[in-house]
């Protein structure tokens, strides 16, 4: 039995929900909301350098937009990348779905923006949060995992031809700026 409560939910009438209001026990997803609110507050009050995130404009707290600045001393230096976060209702027990909105040329990101990062998949734990994910992605930009690439060409070029890699990165990034 979920110990949060079943009475208000099982009563099944709208007035009950209305009456309960804040007094009502947690609904599924409410914990996720609460947690996301806390995270947002934390990001606002103590932002980490180079990363930022905010809920998307439609007012849905389960969908966020984030930006990462490319770290210095990497081919991505000086570039800014936009990402989208979609949080499941059982967040933080399940990882958010993170996609690069900005096209990026990177060994572990495919052309549709999907990311190959273990902590967003099987290595996810409930102790991760948006900020840690963003910082992990930022460091992924400088240290790609070329052992399991989504973009094989990029993985090869990373080691063999950094100059060409850099051009490709700039080209791909420009694509967006042209849009």
């Amino acid at each position: 039995m979920p110990y949060e409560d079943t009475h208000t939910s099982t009563a099944g009438s709208i007035p009950a929900a209305k009456l309960g209001g804040a007094r009502k026990a947690a609904e599924p997803g409410q914990n996720a909301m609460k947690r996301l609110q806390t995270e947002l507050m934390q990001l606002m009050t103590s932002p980490a350098p180079g990363v930022s995130a905010f809920p998307s404009a439609d007012g849905n707290l389960l969908s966020w937009r984030a930006t990462i600045e490319g770290p210095d001393d990497t081919p991505y230096a000086g570039l800014t990348f936009k990402l989208s976060f979609e949080f499941p209702s059982n967040y933080p027990y399940a990882p958010p779905t993170v996609l690069f909105s900005t096209p990026i040329y990177h060994p572990n990101v495919d052309f549709s923006g999907r990311i190959c990062l273990d902590i967003l998949k099987d290595k996810w734990t409930a102790a991760y949060n948006t900020q840690t994910v963003l910082l992990s992605l930022q460091s992924l930009l400088g240290e790609p995992n070329n052992a399991s690439p989504l973009n094989g060409e990029a993985a090869e070029l990373w080691d063999k031809n950094p100059a060409l890699f850099k051009t490709k990165v700039m080209d791909r990034h420009k694509d967006l700026e042209d849009d």
Partner: protein
């Protein structure tokens, strides 16, 4: 089993901390149950009844202690598409009752809320299953916790109408700043029922940790493998810190703030906003405790909103007005401001700038009668009656003070008169003891310091400024009385001495008189003895003719005066020895030197 006693302690910890049963989350007894039952590990997932309706997109991963081989045979494979079947016992064709119990109990640890509210009926069977399965578990270690789990279950299914909704600790508003280290890394709120992992020492809320472990049996921070039953323990210091945090009551409308450990008591017993069952026994809905008072019947009947014509529940009328009433606001007739309708009266009486009001100095003659905003300005500077008004007001205040003081003075007088009367009575009664000096006992002052000095009996008809003064006065009084007594005693002493002297003087005189009489008697005796000796000497001289003359003997005797006349002694010895001749006993000492004396 190692975990058993620890888990029992864990339950008793909460009872020790005074948390009520309702605030022991259901997982605690379940944990006890689970600890008591030996886990059977085999490496397979157990889809169970609870999973069937509460599992979402993330099915349990293979980490639970799986059943023993015989069970395996009958178990459906992991992640079977049986999710969504809300019936209990349909999935687990438990061959042995005990192991089925274990499986059920296991999955009742920190359950998740269903994604969509299940219909009312299907919620009952799992609870019943849990209850019955727990009851059938033959385990002595759980017998002590039986009542707990029973009461908890009843509250979960809420057959008992006095049960309340549990406090959602993640929604609490903390008044004090909470140390970051007291926040659960999973829910990011201060811990509720903190559990610390034994191998790596990380702390989480019990519910957060168990949900995380349900998905992956790893520590959420450092991925240390964990077993929910064995690898967690409580840290009292964390609990103590959490208990001291100041929280606001979670009930809407309630502003009560207290230490977190006291919140359950407030919430359960005292908060007027706690949602309790509707007074109508047939109604399953809840109302605030304050609304449930009195015999108002079911508060969940619909009534028509007087403003918007909507059908609204009686209990929700206030909220309806405030929130979604179509006609809930109205224009103030005077100032055109939009005001919530049922607050209109207050608005007109206190806030509305256009309502006609009188100047506050009206009682003192001001005849201003204008809209509030005008009157306010007028009151602030223009009103000519302001000075008079203030004066009058001050006078009234003064008069009140004077009256009060008068009352006090009259009360004082009354008391004084009484005490004086008493004193007189006492001095009259106590006069007889020591010749006019009043006896001390009836006048012992009241030394009770709790009495205010003013209230103490006033001996001199006056009052004292402070307790010290009062004490000093008392002290002086006592001292003077002591002095009186001392004088009196000295006088008495003198009397006694005089009387003694008078008495003994007479005795002394008598003794002296007696002494002189004795002396006279002695002289008489000596004279008589001399006379007798003379006559005897004359007789001897008559017979022998050779003894000295009696004149000499008498002269010697008279001159001796009863003293030590050797010659006379000689005479006396002779006299007595002569009487010895006739056989009389010798009365003298053998030496015969001591003369008979008085």
């Amino acid at each position: 089993m190692l975990a058993g006693p620890r888990c029992r302690n864990f339950t008793s910890l909460y009872s020790y901390l005074g948390l009520s049963l309702r605030h022991i989350p259901p997982d605690i007894p379940a944990l006890v149950a689970q600890c008591a039952t030996p886990p059977v590990i085999n490496g397979r997932v157990l889809p169970t009844t609870v999973h069937t309706y509460s599992r979402r997109a993330h099915p349990p991963q293979a980490w639970f202690p799986p059943p023993s081989p015989p069970h395996n045979a009958t178990m459906p494979p992991p992640n079977t598409p049986e999710e969504g079947v809300p019936t209990a016992g349909a999935v687990v064709p438990a061959p042995a009752n005990t192991s089925a119990t274990y499986i059920l109990g296991r999955h009742h640890l920190y359950p998740e809320p269903p994604v969509s509210p299940p219909p009312r009926v299907p919620t009952a069977p799992p609870a019943a299953t849990t209850e019955s399965s727990r009851a059938t578990t033959p385990n002595p270690s759980r017998s002590s916790s039986r009542p707990r789990s029973a009461s908890r279950d009843s509250s979960a299914s809420c057959s008992n109408r006095s049960c309340l909704l549990p406090i959602n600790y993640q929604d609490l508003h903390y008044e004090t700043e909470v140390d970051k280290s007291l926040e659960c890394p999973i829910c990011r709120t201060p811990f509720h029922l903190p559990l610390t992992t034994k191998p790596c020492g990380h702390t989480f809320c019990a519910s957060c940790l168990d949900r995380a472990l349900e998905i992956q049996p790893l520590c959420p921070i450092d991925r240390t493998p964990l077993d929910a039953s064995r690898d967690v323990c409580h840290t009292r210091i964390v609990l103590d810190q959490l208990d001291r945090l100041r929280v606001r009551c979670p009930n809407r409308g309630c502003d009560y703030i207290c230490a977190r450990e006291l919140l359950p008591v407030h919430y359960e017993r005292y908060c007027e906003y706690t949602m309790v069952h509707c007074p109508d026994p047939d109604c399953d809905l809840r109302v605030a405790r304050a609304d449930a008072r009195g015999d108002r019947g079911c508060l969940h009947t619909f009534t028509t909103c007087q403003y918007c014509g909507k059908e609204v529940m009686v209990a929700g009328l206030e909220e309806h007005y405030d929130a979604d009433c179509g006609g809930h606001t109205a224009k103030c007739g005077h100032c055109n401001a939009i005001v919530v309708r049922h607050r209109m009266e207050k608005h007109t009486a206190k806030d509305c700038p256009r309502t006609m009001v009188a100047c506050k100095w009206r009682p003192f003659g001001c005849s201003e009668w204008a809209p509030r905003e005008v009157v306010e300005k007028h009151e602030q500077g223009l009103c000519v009656y302001q000075a008079i008004g203030r004066l009058a007001r001050d006078r009234m205040e003064d008069r009140m003070i004077i009256n009060e003081l008068k009352e006090r003075v009259s009360a004082m007088d009354e008391r004084l008169r009484k005490s004086e009367k008493k004193e007189k009575n006492r001095s009259r009664d106590g006069g007889g003891h020591f010749g006019g000096i009043p006896s001390a006992a009836p006048f012992m002052p009241d030394l009770d310091l709790n009495h205010s000095p003013r209230a103490a009996p006033s001996y001199n008809g006056g009052t004292w400024e402070s307790p010290e003064d009062y004490m000093l006065a008392q002290f002086e009084r006592i001292e003077s009385r002591m002095e009186d007594l001392r004088k009196m005693i000295m006088e008495l002493d003198g009397h006694h001495t005089m009387r003694l002297l008078n008495d003994t003087m007479r005795l002394n005189e008598q003794i002296a008189e007696l002494g002189s009489k004795v002396g006279v008697l002695g002289m008489h005796t000596t004279w008589l003895m001399n006379v007798q000796r003379q006559s005897r000497g004359q007789q001897r001289a008559g017979t022998t003719g050779g003894t000295p003359g009696p004149g000499i003997g008498v002269a010697g005797g008279v001159s001796g005066g009863g003293g030590s006349a050797g010659g006379r002694e000689e005479e006396a010895r002779r006299y007595f020895s002569s009487s010895n001749d006739v056989g009389l006993p010798l009365r003298r000492n053998s030496d015969g030197r001591n003369p008979p004396r008085l």
